[in-house]
């Protein structure tokens, strides 16, 4: 029994190493960068949303792990681009929040929109959505697989359900994350008072 366990454990360790190697290949170019990334993960608090290890793609086609958002506060929400009513309102809410900050301040935090729609919201679609909505460089739109979307939604306490026509019924929730990915503030609803969100971001800058 012990032997079997040992073999399994060894197998797992080897598999684990292989996985890590692949990750490194994908995400980092130099040894120095690898070390920095690893240090960042080790330093992340246990409650950081960036503990989620899934692979995402940004609207600009960049492969990304959530821990790469470390270093700047983030305003995070989940949407889908085929959404005709609620999501444009949500994006509008976020734009209103953005307007409360000077152009210099805007460079110090990011807006991150994660799509529920792992089928239709591929990179190209997200990119054209960002353009049509006039979103600046401090906005990051993310596409991920079904399992990652589910894990993130569970983490953020956002309920959703895919409907038969391919659209989504979902909670409208904006969250403010600190520089290390901890949730410091969240707000439900649309066309809500932007003041507490602005204050939460300000306190982190």
């Amino acid at each position: 029994m012990k032997n079997i366990l040992f073999i399994m454990l060894t197998g797992f360790l080897i598999a684990g190493c292989n996985e890590k190697k692949e990750e490194v290949k994908q995400c980092c170019n130099t040894k120095n960068e690898q070390k920095v990334t690893k240090d960042l993960i080790d330093q992340l608090p246990g409650t950081s949303v960036y503990q989620l290890d899934g692979d995402w793609t940004s609207h600009k086609g960049k492969p990304l792990k959530l821990n790469q958002l470390t270093g700047k506060p983030v305003v995070l929400t989940m949407i889908f681009t085929h959404c005709e009513y609620a999501c444009p309102m949500m994006v509008n809410d976020l734009k209103m929040i953005e307007q409360e900050f000077s152009s210099q301040e805007r460079n110090e935090f990011n807006f991150v929109l994660v799509s529920f729609d792992y089928v239709r919201d591929k990179q190209e679609r997200l990119e054209s959505y960002a353009v049509s909505q006039g979103l600046d460089d401090n906005w990051i739109l993310l596409h991920g697989g079904e399992s990652q979307v589910k894990e993130l939604s569970v983490t953020l306490n956002i309920s959703y359900e895919m409907l038969e026509n391919g659209s989504f019924s979902h909670t409208n929730r904006k969250l403010v994350l600190d520089k290390q990915g901890r949730i410091v503030y969240s707000q439900n609803g649309l066309q809500t008072n932007s003041e507490p969100v602005v204050e939460a971001i300000r306190s982190l800058l």
Partner: protein, 255 residues
């Protein structure tokens, strides 16, 4: 020549059959079918495709092999994002030891959704969808004539005051051939955070807590089905990192 071909085919068939059965050891194939949803939506019947499901919920002993092999899921190392402080708190030590622990065969509880999901994926399986779980659990106990027997099992369970984690005694097997979908522990489902009501996401001021108690209760297909109310309310109250003393899981596999 023909005979040889047939023989080869038979051997192959045996191989395929045996490999399938060994892969799905301890699992039962649920045939495709439909059930009446508890929360009325646009459909009267929910269709469920055929799938494999664990005959019993995952035990302490089984979960401990997973933790042994994946230290990041141990009580010591787990990140708070993935499980609260009570994670595996009924285990005597960080690494569950079968010799010193007598309830290896009892269902594992105090596990978060993240841990349950990771366990199933480690096994090459997945957590059941809510519709799969509800469908599998809707089958009556073997040999029973009407649904009163199932209601009785659930009512007895709810009225029991003991909160023992050592419940190794199987209670009942249902018509699908799976054990104790009710009567012992609650079980995680993959999409426990899905929106189970007609709540419109356009509402300006949403209270997710109200999703269940408010509109959903008006949409229940059988308002007298008290036990199902409790199950849906309980599910709606969960968060992914929660661990509960009577909440475990079992895994499924797509056919």
């Amino acid at each position: 020549m023909l005979f040889k071909k047939e023989l080869a085919f038979l051997v192959m068939l045996c191989f395929v059959v045996s490999s399938v059965s060994s892969q799905n050891k301890g699992m039962v194939l649920i045939p495709s079918g439909s059930y009446k949803p508890f929360i009325k939506g646009k459909v009267d019947e929910i269709q469920v495709d055929s799938f494999w499901i664990d005959e019993k919920s995952v035990t302490n002993a089984e979960f401990s092999t997973f933790v042994d092999a994946n230290p990041s899921w141990s009580r010591e190392e787990i990140k708070r994002l993935f499980a609260d402080e009570d994670y595996l708190s009924h285990w005597a030590t960080d690494l569950f030891n079968q010799d010193s622990f007598l309830v290896g065969n009892a269902p594992v509880v105090n596990v978060s959704w993240f841990a349950a999901k990771a366990y199933c994926e480690w096994q090459g399986k997945r957590l059941p969808m809510l519709s799969e779980w509800e469908y599998a659990a809707s089958a009556l106990p073997q040999g029973s004539v009407d649904s009163s027997s199932l209601q009785e099992i659930i009512a007895n369970w709810y009225s029991r005051r003991t909160l023992s984690e050592n419940d190794t005694v199987p209670h009942y097997k249902n018509e699908f051939g799976i054990w104790d979908m009710h009567g012992k522990i609650w079980e995680w489902v993959y999409d426990f955070n899905s929106v189970q009501s007609n709540e419109d996401s356009r509402n300006m001021e949403e209270t997710p807590e109200g999703l269940f108690c408010g509109s959903a209760s008006l949409n229940a297909s059988d308002a007298s089905d008290y036990s199902t109310f409790i199950r849906f309310a309980f599910r709606g109250s969960l968060k992914g990192h929660f661990t509960v003393r009577k909440l475990g899981f079992r895994c499924v596999k797509t056919k």
